[in-house]
């Protein structure tokens, strides 16, 4: 069964304390892995798409990496404004559908 699992469910960091969020997936024929940021009461904001193992993408303090079984979202020296829920999703070959994980709620304290 196709599945996306994110861990941890919640993460509290001090400002400047770097960490990583995990997204593990079991899907046949991965066509893309997506990361989104979602603030409370708002729609998800697109961050990255990764297509193949070994690929990396960066945006400000965020860096996403992909292996054949999982993806990591590394947050370097986070700031309070990085507090949000981070969602991971995968897309299969020959499908328009995104399969989402349940997200990681990140809180960065000043």
């Amino acid at each position: 069964e196709d599945q996306v699992t994110q861990s941890p469910e919640a993460l509290r960091l001090q400002e400047g304390e770097s960490s990583s969020l995990n997204c593990s997936y079991t899907v046949s024929g991965l066509r893309g892995l997506f990361w989104y940021r979602q603030d409370p009461g708002k729609g998800p904001e697109f961050l990255f798409t990764l297509y193949s193992a070994g690929e990396e993408k960066e945006k400000e303090r965020l860096k996403a990496t992909l292996t054949k079984k999982e993806s990591f979202l590394h947050i370097t020296a986070p700031k309070p404004e990085d507090s949000a829920t981070y969602l991971c999703a995968v897309r299969k070959d020959s499908s328009y559908k995104l399969i989402f994980g349940s997200g990681t709620r990140l809180l960065v304290r000043p």
Partner: protein, 110 residues
């Protein structure tokens, strides 16, 4: 640039009443369109997607229906709302590939 609109932003409806949520996209043509529902603290569940006018695919059998009367308009409807229909409804659009989300509609059924 492309913009996606949803309205209303918030809606409180009694059980058994009808529903109509609207989504429109600007700045692109022939987009793929999607309706998702997000329960509190959970990931996104795909409800419907459309690859063209009048073409609707349903992912989950339920009390809801969708229509696409124009190229950049996607409507989510119900004839009679249930308590379980409460949630955060998100519209998304994509060219082939990345999906971009609207601001969402918060629906509370009482």
């Amino acid at each position: 640039s492309q913009t996606i609109h949803q309205w209303p932003a918030t809606l409180v409806q009694p059980v058994g009443s009808p529903l109509s949520l609207e989504c429109t996209v600007e700045g692109t043509s022939n987009p793929n369109l999607y309706w998702y529902r997000q329960a509190a603290g959970r990931g996104l569940q795909l409800l419907f997607y459309s690859v063209g006018i009048g073409q609707i695919s349903s992912e989950v059998p339920q009390n809801l229906s969708a229509s696409r009367p124009q190229d950049r308009q996607f409507i989510l409807s119900s004839k009679k709302l249930l308590l379980s229909d409460s949630g955060f409804y998100l519209c998304a659009w994509s060219p082939p590939g990345d999906q971009y989300f609207g601001p969402g509609t918060r629906l509370l059924v009482l």
